[in-house]
Amino acid sequence: MFGHEFIRNAYLAGTPVALACGVVGWFVVLRRQVFASDALSHVAFVGAIAAAVLGLDVRVGLFVLTLAVAAGMAGLGRAGAADDVVIGTVFAWILGIGILLITVLATSSGGGNGLTPASTLFGSIFSLTAGAARLAAVIALAVTAGALLIARPLLFASLDAELARVRGVPVRALGAMLLALLAIVTAESTQAVGALLLLGLIAAPAGAAHQLALSPQAGLAVSAAIAVAATWGGIALAYAIPALPPSTAIIALAAAAYGASALFRSSAVLRSG
């Protein structure tokens, strides 16, 4: 299996991206911001199309728009977290603009429905070049390091914002930093491994870790471990079964981990009466 270059590239990019998603996702789930993550991955899609329409590098559109929207979310909400109704309203409008841009792209690229040119903007974990895989790995490792660097104050700010503020912790700035890290990993992953993978790897491993009621350190480690294990297993499964898309296999494993931990939790609740 490792004789194939595309498999090596998939592991090279997939492992750090999963690590970043597991760590960032643990905080995102703790702060109940999975919807913000979902909105950012849709926004990334619009950013890529906008860059294509303007003739810019796709990556510019991805990073500029996701970071701008993350900043907006941090600025609009209290304590650096926007209300879900605000997210929903803004994000519906950005998708509306995306649809306008697809129409523009269709007219400028000489017919078709605009979806074919649009679909070429998005990658799959099995079609990465070595350079793209290395870049994705570097960015994902930087995001992981950034999240671990602010982990302690961010945890304090997330668990008790009032007390943290009194103690002089910059609650708002930390919330904005988390959203910025999320935006970076979203923008990079959308092009490298596909936006679908991202939401699943943010939500499911972290959700599983939170079900187990571990200490924060152990929770972060378990979340990252599940994300990485699901990615490794998913890539191998998809290699073994050609009809199975890699993203489907990875999400299925991550979701299975979540389901198993939810069962474990409810049986533990029953036993303790």
């Binding site: 789930v29 703790l30 109940r32 911001q33 999975v34 919807f35 993550s37 979902d38 849709h42 209300d83 879900d84 109704v85 997210i87 929903g88 309203t89 803004v90 994000f91 519906a92 409008w93 998708l95 509306g96 603009i97 995306g98 649809i99 306008l100 129409t103 429905n113 979806l115 679908l196 939401l199 699943g200 943010i202 939500a203 499911a204 972290a206 959700g207 939170h210 079900q211 009809a243 199975l244 898309p245 993203s247 489907t248 999400i251 299925a252 991550a254 979701a255 979540y258 939810a262």
Partner: protein, 273 residues
Amino acid sequence: MIGQLFQYPFMVHALEAGTAVAVLAASVGWFVVQRRQAFTGHTLSVMAFPGAAGAALAGAPTTLGYYVACLVAALALGRSRRPQARGYVGESATVGTVQAVGLALGFLFLSLNHAVLDGLETLLFGTFLGVSQGQVVTLFVVAAVTLAALAVVGRPLLFATVDPVLARARGVPVAVLDLAFLLILAVAVAATTQITGALLVFALLIAPPATAQLITMRPLPGLLLSIALAIAIAWLALGIAYFSIYPVGFYTTTFAFAVYVLVRMGRWIASRG
């Protein structure tokens, strides 16, 4: 010039379907905004993708696929939203995981069907201008049944939403109402998706009710205002799109967003003066 709009059957059907969907989405959406379930609403709208891909694989009608996928997802979400677990950390992770699994299944169905999905454009952009007489009739029936169900559970649902603990103490079946509302939402989203496309359900589901709730929190006037706003947005968008080369979805989201922003600004100015 306006009279020209009503000369074509496709425009008449579009206006009829748009009105039915606006009334349905705005009424159900009023509760979605009240219950802070925008993420759930969006996740259900995403189920159009596995629904359509699954229906194509099974050789069933796409519309049936939408309803089945939305209802299955609603049941999966309902299991996770037990009353004693209300608002626990994992809720947003569960919704995110269900959405990721739905998308992953969609990709699997697509891959099993050799990547053929007719009507991808319809899935994303809706069929505002291609609605048939039969679809309009089906839509009216679905809207009538859903609104009737909402009218039956409306009062206790509002009680259970505003104060679940007190409602439970008074013998209101909060868990049953939670699930009943999810199923109503699933049907409303599946119906709306056919018209607005999966990406733009929010334009009618979240923005008009959110705007109405900025103006009044009283249930009945709020609901009526939300419906009136949604109908106005749908009609205006259809009317302008008829004379323009750009898609209806862009106008729908833009008008919905503009009204929301104007009302928010108006409130902000009023609170200062």
